[in-house]
Every structure is written in C-alpha cells, then in structure tokens.
C-alpha cells in the first residue's frame, strides 16, 4: 500500500479543470487510486463526480492511496500534478 499527502495548489481547488486533469491522469494510468482528506473518507479518484464532491479547496491537504505494481511512481506523478496550479 503506497500513499502520499499533498497540498492542492490550484487556485480554484480540486474542481472544474484541475479535477478533470487529475481524474484523466488517474484513468489513463489504469491503476485504481483513492483520494480524500487525511483521516477522512477516501473515494475513487477515477470518478470526476466523487472527486469534485470532496469540495477540496486551494491550500487543503489530500491523501492519495494506491496498491500494486507502479503504485509509487503513479502516486508521485499525481502528487506532482496536484502541487501545481492546473488552472494557470
């Protein structure tokens, strides 16, 4: 089980364009990933509706969890995405 904690840096938070880019990256890789606030409920990061429903705002921390081959590399990639302003 691999996990990462990362601060969401997109100015609009994790919705609209940033959420779309993030979910697309999850689905393109094909490896199931869970996302949520640390200690809170985790949801399928491949679901745009569930990711947006988290209502994560700019500056909030989220946790990413995945299992299996390539989980570490995939989480590094996703954490890197979230730490940038994807709406810029």
């Amino acid at each position: 089980m691999a996990s990462r904690k990362v601060i969401v840096e997109s100015a609009v938070g994790l919705h609209a364009r940033p959420a779309t880019i993030f979910v697309k990256a999850v689905n393109d890789a094909g490896l199931p990933v869970q996302v949520g606030r640390p200690g809170g409920k985790l949801v399928n990061a491949g679901s745009i509706l569930l990711v947006m429903s988290l209502g994560v705002k700019c500056g909030e921390e989220v946790e990413l969890v995945a299992e299996g081959d390539g989980a570490d590399a995939q989480l590094d990639h996703l954490a890197d995405l979230l730490s940038r302003d994807l709406d810029a």
């Binding site: 609009v12 919705h15 779309t20 399928n44 491949g46 509706l49 947006m52 429903s53 209502g55």
Partner: protein, 569 residues
C-alpha cells in the same frame, strides 16, 4: 420535400406562415435544424427482469454518450471544448454507472439514470454556487442517456453541417455556447422575449431572430424563410417568396452601406456609437470594428464559476488588455453587477424573495466593499499602466447619496471619470441630483424598463410590457436626459434600446449623447442617424411620448422617418 405537420389550428393549406415577435432584423432562408427538448424518464417503465443485461445496456449507452461528446469536443471551437470534455468525463464516470446499477433493482432504467444523476447533483449543489456549471453538465449527460435509452434524438443543439435556421422552444446560454455561428442563418423560438438570450445572441451574431412563435412544429430539414423585422416565419416558401427574400436581403445590405464615420445626425450633431462587451475576446473583436469606444464593459465574466474572488493582479491584467485593445478610444467599465439572481460563491448574501429588488449591483458593492475596492484598485492599476481614457460606473444606483459614495471611492484612486448606471426610475427622475457628484450617466434600458413597468425581464409572457417603446419608459428616459443636459454631463444608453434604429432616433432626440450596443447593430444605427436631423429626432421623440402605447409610438416615429429607410426601422 414533404409538407410539415403544423400544430397551428388554422386550416390554411396555401400558405404556411407563422407570426412571432421580430427581435433582430434581417432576412434569411434555409433548412430548419430542430433543437430537441430534454426527454423525461418513463414512470411506467418496469423493473428489468434481466438485471445484468439492463446494467450492460445502461453502461453501453453511457459509453456512447461519452464517445459522442468527445467526438464533438474534437471539432468544437476552443471556448466550447471544456464543457464537452467535462460532459464526456461525467458520462464515463464509474461511480455514476455503479449508482445506476444499484438502482436498477428497484426501478426502470430511465428512472434509474434520472435518480442517480439527481443524487450526484444534490451532492454537488450542497457544496455551493460555484458547482452550478458541473450540475448543468451532469444534467446534460442524464438527458442524453435517457434519450438514447428511449430511442429519441439527443436533446440540445445538434452539430450544424450546412447553413441552417435554428428552431427551438427556447435557447439557453449553455446550449448556444457550442453553436457554430458561421453556419447559423437565423434563430426562431417558441418562448423568449425581446431581452431573452435568443435576442442577445442574434444581435451578437448579426443574424435575424423571431421569438414567441406559437404553434411552431417543423420537421428537421424543412425550408424556412425568416423576417426578423416583422416577425414572420414562412414554412416551405415558394420559389417566388425565396426570390423576394433574397432581394430584400440584398437591398438591406446596400442600404446599410459601409460607412465608418463617427455617429452623427444629418446636421452633424454627434451621437457616439459604442460597443457593449463582456469578455476579453469580445473586446478584441469589437476593437476592430468602426466604433468610437466601449459604452459598457461587463466585468462579471471574471467573477463567475469560481470559488474565490479574482485577485487584483488577475483583474488588472484583464482590464489592461481591454484598455490597450481600444486605445485611444474610451472604455466605460461597469463594476461587478451580481446579486441574488446571479449568486457568487464568495459573495452570497443569502436567498432573497425578490432578487431583482434585492441587494444587487452597487447594493452588493456597499455590503461587500472588499470586492468593490479590489476591483477599483485593479482598474486604477490598469489606468496607471495604460493612461487610457477610462470611465468607471456603478450598476443599480438609486440615490444621490449612493452616487456620491461611489464617486468618492473612484476618485480616491486617481481614476479620472466616475459615473452611474441609471436603471432605477428613482435615479432617472432625480438625475439632476444623482449626477451632481459624478461625471456621466449611462441608461440601462432593460432594467429601467422592468422597474418602470414592474414586469420581470425574464418572464417571456410579459414581453408586451417590456417593449422598450413603452411611452412610460420613454418618459422616464426623458427625465433622466433632462437632468443630465441641465448639468452638461454626458448621458449614454447601453441597453438593447440603443441598438434599435428607430429608438436610436428617439433617444438622440431626447438628448442622449452616446449609444452602446452589440457591434453588428452599429451599421443600421449609424445609417438612420445620418439620414435625419436633430430637429427631426426631437420631433420623433415628442411624437413617441405623445402616443398611447408602444405600437402607436413606433408607428408615429415611422411616419416621420425618411421613407427610403423604413425597412431598417
């Protein structure tokens, strides 16, 4: 071509002609493209006996919807692509499919789609106003999936493949965002009014439009002839009618001419012709046109669909770009005009029973001075960077005290000109006092009409009360102009009325010093102004005010106009 079935009761097999309200002038002939209404779920649908098969079918339909949206995204204009891509992603959402699958145990497939979408919509809505656009995308996916499950055409504006006339019950901004304007010849709707989105869009595109066409039922591909002036829609026009329409269209183009001269009456009394703009892209398009500046720069687009207010730096960059596009011409910027009917996540003052009469416009600015101050700081920075001819005005001002309060904030930042929108009859009637502390006024005739006539702008059924030719509205405008003229201060018009050639003559006669409009309307207004003297305009204004109703007012002005130009009025 087969004869279309008409819902209209009149048995008139010879001529199939319907009448509506013409809201954008011009003539067009072409095939109809029909915008299908969203389908409802089928309440009588039984629970599927073969659950796995039903689930597979729903998943296949969602997959097809996603593919369809993705294919459209590939050829869509840049501004339309994100909405389509977001829709495709929602249609392919695994959680949505799982929720539908679970619901299939207790209800039919179309209802399961409806309920599942409703659950996620509620979840998104609970997060606040800025999720509204995603809810719209979700509802669009729901409607497309239900249409496919029911075997009916997908709702919304189909992709145009040839020059066509768009026929719809009504058109919403979200639907027309995806419209290929270059292939759209005219708009015809059953609902809507003179200030509806359909009218505004037609004005932007410079194409004819007719609204309130009752009994409108045409099959896709039916040939239509549309007269956006008289409001006539002819179904399956004869070759003679088609030739006649083509000739009228050509005559109109010749009459409009291609003058780029500043707006003025025949005897040289200047009436500046300005552009209404709402985005940076609008500014770039409008700046290339023969206009003398911007009479209304709506700044709302900077604030919509976001969780937090835009930072001063972001606003400054946008304002600077707009000012640069128009330099050395002047630009009138309206500060944020939001309120309970256009709620912003970061400026929500709570629900109101009557949003149009609530804390909107400057009233919101006074409740949230931080938002107004940031905007004025950004405008001051853009002014400092460009030295442009920048005028700043506040929306929804009712009293002299509000005007003075706003002017002081504008001047404190070194901005050269402060003004007010006159949209409230109170401000119009007391314009002499209201304008004391400011440099200029701009009449927002759409709101001024709604508040004078006590008729909701968004209520299509009240279109007759909202007719800008209502003599009471002209009286209120006259009062506003009298005050401004006495003080020697400029008073412009930036509502739809300013772009109506006949009303433009009346407004010039009432003392209006500039007219601001969607740029495709400028040509006709310039032409009719140049053909009449100021004295004629004043005579027309007096005749319109003396009339008993809007139709009589218009007829009185037509009777006084140069007969050669009657078709433009």
């Amino acid at each position: 071509m087969t004869n279309p079935v008409r819902a209209s009761a009149e048995p008139d097999p010879g001529v199939s002609m319907l009448s509506g309200i013409g809201v954008s002038r011009g003539f067009a002939t072409g095939p109809a493209v029909v915008v299908s209404p969203p389908p409802a779920f089928d309440p009588a649908e039984p629970v599927a006996t073969d659950q796995p098969a039903a689930s597979a079918r729903v998943r296949a339909v969602l997959h097809d919807v996603a593919d369809g949206l993705r294919a459209r995204a590939e050829t869509a204009p840049d501004n339309a692509r994100p909405v389509l891509e977001a829709g495709a992603m929602i249609a392919g959402d695994p959680a949505l499919a799982d929720t539908i699958e679970a619901l299939l145990a207790t209800m039919g497939p179309t209802r399961a789609v409806h309920e599942a979408a409703g659950q996620y919509a509620a979840l998104l809505e609970s997060l606040g106003g800025y999720m509204a656009e995603r809810v719209t995308d979700l509802m669009d996916v729901r409607d497309r999936a239900i249409a496919r499950l029911s075997g009916v055409p997908e709702p919304g504006v189909p992709t145009l493949t040839e020059p066509s006339i768009l026929v719809a019950r009504d058109l919403a901004p979200a639907e027309t965002a995806l419209l290929d304007a270059s292939l759209c010849l005219a708009l015809v709707t059953e609902a809507g009014g003179p200030t509806s989105h359909t009218a505004i869009l037609a004005a932007q595109l410079g194409i004819p439009a007719v609204v309130q066409v009752h009994g409108l039922a045409v099959t896709p591909g039916t040939l239509l002839a549309v007269d956006g002036g008289s409001g006539q829609v002819i179904i399956d026009p004869s070759p003679e009618v088609r030739t006649g329409f083509a000739a009228k269209q050509a005559r109109r183009a010749t009459m409009l001419g291609d003058s780029r001269a500043p707006g003025a009456t025949k005897d040289g009394h200047p009436v500046a012709l300005l552009a209404n703009i709402g985005t940076l892209a609008d500014a770039e398009t409008a700046a290339a046109q023969a206009v003398e500046g911007v009479g209304l720069f709506r700044t709302e687009f900077l604030f919509l669909d976001r969780a937090d207010a835009p930072a001063v730096a972001e606003q400054t960059a946008t304002y600077t770009a707009v000012l640069r596009a128009f330099a050395p011409r002047h630009v009138v910027v309206r500060t944020l005009d939001a309120g309970a009917d256009k709620p912003l996540a970061f400026a929500d003052l709570g629900a109101e029973a009557n949003p149009a009469l609530g804390r909107r416009g400057l009233r919101l600015g006074r409740a949230r001075t931080d938002l107004l101050d940031d905007q004025l700081d950004a405008l001051a920075a853009a002014y400092a960077a460009t030295g442009a001819d920048l005028w700043v005005m506040a929306p929804m001002v009712a009293t002299a005290a509000e005007a003075a309060w706003f002017a002081e904030r504008v001047r404190a930042r070194g901005l050269p000109r402060a003004g007010v929108m006159i949209e409230v009859p109170a401000a119009a009637l007391r314009s002499r006092q209201v304008l004391q502390a400011v440099d200029f006024a701009s009449l927002g005739t759409n709101d001024l009409g709604q508040y004078t006539m006590a008729a909701d702008r968004l209520q299509g059924e009240l279109a007759d009360l909202l007719d800008p030719w209502q003599p009471a509205v002209l009286d209120v405008i006259a009062a506003a102009c009298a005050g401004a003229t006495a003080l020697g201060k400029p008073v412009g018009v930036c509502g739809e009325a300013g772009g109506d050639p006949g009303l433009a003559l009346v407004l010039a006669g009432l003392g209006v010093t500039s007219l601001s409009m969607a740029t495709p309307k400028v040509r006709a207004v310039r032409t009719v102004l140049a053909a009449h003297t100021l004295a004629q305009c004043q005579e027309m204004a007096a005749a319109a005010r003396a009339a008993t109703g809007p139709a009589e007012a218009r007829a009185a002005v037509l009777a006084l106009a140069d007969p050669v130009l009657t078709e433009l009025l």
